[in-house]
Symmetry: C2
């Protein structure tokens, strides 16, 4: 882990690191916020993973969400990775919604993606191992994200409830199999057989009984420009109702898909995670 940025922020450090990913086969950047409590001798703090949306890098969340204040209040490390493998040799596509910046948190099986588009394994296994090896991190983990990253957070937590004590999402793509963003990405990364898509579709996972004990917190802006076409939180609500899965879905009047929405409620999400992580 090579540190390439360090900024004092709310009494702690907002860092960015570069490291070689064995899983992704390329150099990756990852942002790490270390709250003031991390400086204490022998500290072991819980970690909140943040997964960003389409087009984002590790920078968007750390410059725009204002989460550092709440992480400092609660003594939580926040780790914000990039959204896909990156670099000149890495497969890419025209458009913002496939290829670099659009990894969709899956392990691709199709060409030309299969060799490097393994964001699921990177987020679930490789990155947490690196974080625990290099930072004062405990093995308590929460996961949260926005849009494509909200899909990533929900689907990863549902499949790995023992690994995540808490999960929440802003404006998540809850049913990628049923909307254009997800259908385009899953067809490219996973192929035409929709059976392979189910393992990465939060609505399908809930209906199959995955992650049963994990209470889902979802905030969704009612003026979100992608609400009806890509996000469809009512599908998650119906699935949770049918499966008896705990869901707190908050429809927030007036809010859109932007970081102004995330900034307005990230404090409540960090508090939600901190309560579970420090229980």
């Amino acid at each position: 882990m090579e540190r390439i940025e360090r900024r004092a922020c709310f009494g702690g450090w907002q860092d960015v690191y570069r490291h070689d990913s064995a899983v992704l086969g390329c150099s990756m950047k990852v942002a790490v916020y270390l709250p003031p409590q991390a400086q204490a001798e022998g500290a072991r703090l819980p970690v909140l993973y943040w997964l960003s949306g389409l087009t984002c890098s590790e920078q968007n969340f750390i410059t725009k969400a204002g989460a550092q204040r709440y992480a400092a209040e609660h003594g939580v490390i926040i780790v914000a990775p990039d959204t896909s493998p990156r670099g000149e040799g890495v497969a890419d596509a025209e458009g913002y919604d496939l290829g670099q910046g659009a990894g969709f948190y899956v392990n691709a099986t199709e060409q030309p993606w299969a060799a490097q588009y393994r964001m699921y394994d990177y987020i679930v296994d490789e990155l947490p191992a690196l974080i625990q090896a290099h930072f004062p991190a405990s093995d308590k983990r929460g996961i949260c994200g926005h849009s494509m990253g909200g899909h990533g957070a929900l689907s990863i937590a549902l499949r790995n409830p023992g690994r995540y004590a808490s999960v929440s999402a802003f404006s998540p793509i809850v049913a990628p199999s049923q909307v254009p963003w997800g259908q385009k990405a899953f067809t490219a990364y996973l192929g035409q057989d929709r059976a392979a898509w189910r393992a990465y579709d939060s609505v399908e996972l809930v209906l199959a009984g995955a992650g049963k004990g994990l209470h889902l917190l979802v905030d969704q802006g009612q003026e979100d420009e992608f609400l009806a076409g890509q996000l469809k939180p009512e599908l998650l609500q119906a699935a949770c109702g049918a499966a008896g899965h705990a869901l707190t879905l908050r429809l927030q009047p007036g809010y859109d898909h932007s970081y102004y929405f995330i900034a307005s409620f990230i404090g409540e999400h960090v508090a939600w995670h901190a309560a579970a992580l420090q229980a």
Copy 2:
């Protein structure tokens, strides 16, 4: 005032407007945060003006500082204008520190700047009149800024204490006449005669007894890359000491010149202004 952006944020609205400026002779953008209290019938809220630094537009502060939370808590409108006249017909120069994005909050007297580079009059007169005409704003005003904008906030408040109930700055250029950024800009905008520079130099203004009753709050990061070469807060401290001017100068260990620094302390600045504006 034509509204070109509106985002729900902390229960209020983060708007951006476009308007024709008679003083600057061009179309200008200005960001306005309206806290939830602005929606009340007959509301008249105090206004905090934010002046940004070199290269910034009206966007930097509203996307990165996280000030909306505190404005919503205290019921303060925040107005964040651009940093110079803008557009294809507007004079400009090579480099980031002169011309568009670098108006330095002065009324230029030299060519080719004199016709449009009148940011002092724009900030002191034209913009507040527009804000009071179009928004639920009282005539109570505070002013705050960063770097070049910290210079703007301090010098404007010192020259117009009756117009501003409060002033604060992050990492301000306190003595533009004595540092490279200021010397380059003032030579271009105001000419070689340094007597003309004094009216825009906070250290000179304090030494001349301007704005005597106005308590100055200044935060300065100790790891700021421009501290020794461009900012020199010790000159303001010495001037305030000599003139008996009230100054709270806080040197913040570890912090740099970035928005991570501003975000960490903007809450305290908004509270400082709110206390004066609502007294």
